[in-house]
């Protein structure tokens, strides 16, 4: 009992003959010949020659080709997607086709009305095929979902292949029109050219009228489609925001709830999350290894994270970093660390300004303060990491502090005129 169904399945899924598709990767015109060849298991060139030879029978080859083109589904997209056609390869078949036609004309001397009619109908079929097949079936399905009444119009909005669409649409339209006019001309009872020309003019006037009537509706649909497209873009953005909120904010909130008793931890978490959200919302992302402002902001963020304080950072102007600017940032970082450690306050102000001739950094707190003349010996950080570092790189450091009113560390780094001129040039 259990064996039978599996056997049946195996029979069904066994790859016997490839299904009839339009080939995507080895196509020359629309992939019909290659698809048929795959299905029959013969070389594609033979099928192509057969199509071309059938042209001789009142354009039967063309008609057949157009019919298959319209009916056959396109092969599913494969990974190595090379849909580029080599038009040079089409040439031999065009030559063969031309030869067949000339031979036919010479042998039978004249082309009968029936033959011409067949040709023209084939022409109409090809034109219609061009219009219908100027896009993937998947995309057409998508269009018809968004716009049930006019799926084909959606192609106009898709800007990526709008030009190709227009070219093909117009080309197809011309083919169809030519074919229909030809058929009318051949089968017209009077057979005189004037009537045909009149007919063409009437047809054009009719088309114009249709355009005038349908125009507003088309425009509305066009706008509707564009709005739908914008909606999709917004949806993508919303998804990005949702991901951000989910990955970071919810995580932080969970941590805050778990550590609700520990004020320091809560503050640190909240501040870190705030900074990351702000960066995400407002700041251009500059690399801390390249730009002065970004490097300072990163140093301030590190101090905030380590000591659970707030560093009010204001940076005016910017420039590229080098070794000396790096030293300035390191000294500023040390000053912030000192303030965080010893000042016993929640907020430290960091202000930096990049001027053409010098960079200045000010780190200020309203904390405990100290008497510089007495404490400097024990504070190795101040002497070595701040004052020493600045003088080594040709800058200077001033430390102003008074017990009770707070401390301000002022750092100055003169910069050469040449490199200063390069910095604004890069910005503009």
């Amino acid at each position: 009992m259990t064996i039978e169904p599996t056997r049946k399945e195996a029979v069904i899924t066994a790859p016997t003959v490839p299904r009839l598709y339009r080939a995507r990767d080895r196509r020359m015109v629309a992939g019909v010949a290659a698809g048929v060849a795959d299905h029959l298991g013969i070389p594609a060139s033979r099928v192509r020659v057969a199509f071309v030879l059938l042209l001789g029978f009142s354009g039967l080859g063309l008609l057949l080709y157009a019919a298959l083109w319209a009916v056959l589904p396109q092969q599913a997209r494969t990974s190595g997607d090379s849909t580029r056609r080599d038009l040079g390869q089409v040439l031999p078949f065009l030559l063969i086709g031309g030869g067949v036609l000339i031979t036919q004309a010479l042998l039978f001397n004249s082309v009968g009305a029936a033959a011409t009619g067949g040709w023209l109908i084939a022409l109409v079929a090809v034109g219609a095929g061009v219009i219908w097949h100027q896009s993937d079936p998947e995309r057409r399905r998508q269009w018809s979902e968004t716009l049930p009444q006019m799926p084909w119009l959606a192609a106009v909005v898709d800007e990526s292949d709008r030009r190709a669409f227009l070219l093909r649409f117009i080309g197809g339209g011309v083919l169809v029109a030519t074919g229909i006019i030809g058929v009318v001309a051949v089968y017209a009872p009077s057979g005189d050219i004037g009537a045909v020309v009149n007919g063409v003019i009437f047809a054009l006037v009719g088309l114009f009228g249709v355009a005038v009537v349908a125009g507003p509706a088309l425009w509305r649909t066009f706008n509707q489609l564009r709005a739908e497209r914008e909606g999709r873009i917004r949806e993508t953005e919303r998804a990005e925001v949702a991901a951000m909120v989910h990955d970071q904010v919810l995580h932080t909130l969970a941590l805050i709830q778990r550590n609700a008793g520990d004020v320091k931890v809560v503050q640190r978490l909240a501040r870190g999350q705030e900074r990351s959200l702000r960066n995400w919302l407002y700041k251009p992302t500059a690399s801390p290894t390249e730009r002065f402002a970004a490097a300072l902001e990163q140093a301030a963020a590190e101090v905030e994270d380590t000591f659970a304080i707030t560093v009010e950072t204001v940076v005016v102007g910017d420039r590229d970093t080098d070794e000396r600017v790096g030293a300035l940032v390191a000294a500023a970082r040390e000053a912030m660390v000192n303030a965080a450690r010893h000042a016993k306050v929640q907020t430290v102000s960091l202000y930096a300004e990049a001027e053409p001739e010098q960079l200045s950094v000010f780190v200020r707190d309203r904390g405990a303060g100290f008497d510089p003349s007495t404490v400097e010996v024990t504070r190795h950080g101040v002497r070595g990491s701040i004052i020493g570092r600045m003088t080594r790189h040709g800058g200077r450091a001033e430390i102003r502090s008074e017990p009770g009113t707070g401390t301000e560390v002022r750092l100055f780094l003169p910069i050469a005129r040449v490199s200063a001129a390069a910095a604004p040039g890069r910005q503009s």
Binding site: P284, Y351, R364
Partner: protein
């Protein structure tokens, strides 16, 4: 503008109106300011704010930058036309340059962030009520950046489009976190003079047509 200074030790109850779309924040401000100023009303939408401010005529409006239907800017533009005596202090979590500069140019007399302490907020409200300007350190930084003396920038009106050296010094100290009193001490001038400098900067910020002021945010994005 400063013809009627209020003594800081005996503050008269200023009538303050709070506009913010977050009820939690309005309640927080109300609680923080209790006893310092008189919060006479609040509004959560632009339309509500416009009608109630017009009816109540408060001394100072605390204005949120980001709200539906045009934000604080929409409130400013309507109320400034009908009630020019009402003063606005912008209060926001946003540090984006276009928000800050936009609100100031629409007529707000100051800008502080929502993380400000209640003491500082009360002081800022008093200052705005007296016709002075309130700059947060970050706003001072923005202004210094926007008015940076670039040799290639053409200056149409030197009186409006440039900052004096003194104004620049005051702004720098503001950006460094100095209070007005500390700035006065540092520069050996009176607090009144510091206030005058800041008010002048505010006027330039509102009136100047400097390219940077309109294009500031966009420039910032490009850097």
């Amino acid at each position: 503008m400063t013809d009627n200074p209020t003594p800081t030790d005996a503050p008269q109850a200023l009538r303050v109106f709070v506009v913010d779309d977050h009820a939690m924040f309005r309640a927080g401000v109300r609680a923080e300011l209790a006893g310092r100023v008189d919060v006479i009303g609040e509004a959560s939408t632009v339309a509500e704010a416009v009608s109630r401010i017009g009816a109540l005529e408060p001394d100072v409006v605390l204005l949120d930058v980001h709200m539906p239907d045009g934000g604080g800017r929409a409130v400013l533009e309507v109320v400034r036309r009908t009630h020019p005596q009402v003063r606005f202090l912008a209060l926001s979590v946003s540090d984006a340059a276009e928000d800050v500069i936009g609100l100031i140019r629409a007529g707000a007399r100051g800008y502080v962030t929502k993380t400000i302490s209640s003491d500082e907020l009360a002081a800022a409200i008093r200052r705005v009520a007296e016709g002075d300007a309130v700059f947060s350190p970050r706003l001072a930084g923005f202004v210094l950046d926007a008015f940076a003396s670039r040799s290639d920038a053409a200056v149409a009106d030197p009186e409006l489009d440039q900052l004096t050296n003194r104004e620049r010094e005051v702004l720098r100290l503001l950006a460094r976190g100095y209070a007005y009193k500390e700035i006065a001490k540092e520069l050996f001038i009176s607090i009144k003079t510091v206030e005058t400098h800041v008010s002048n900067v505010l006027r330039k910020l509102q009136m100047s047509n400097r390219y940077e002021l309109s294009r500031w945010a966009a420039d910032r994005r490009l850097v």
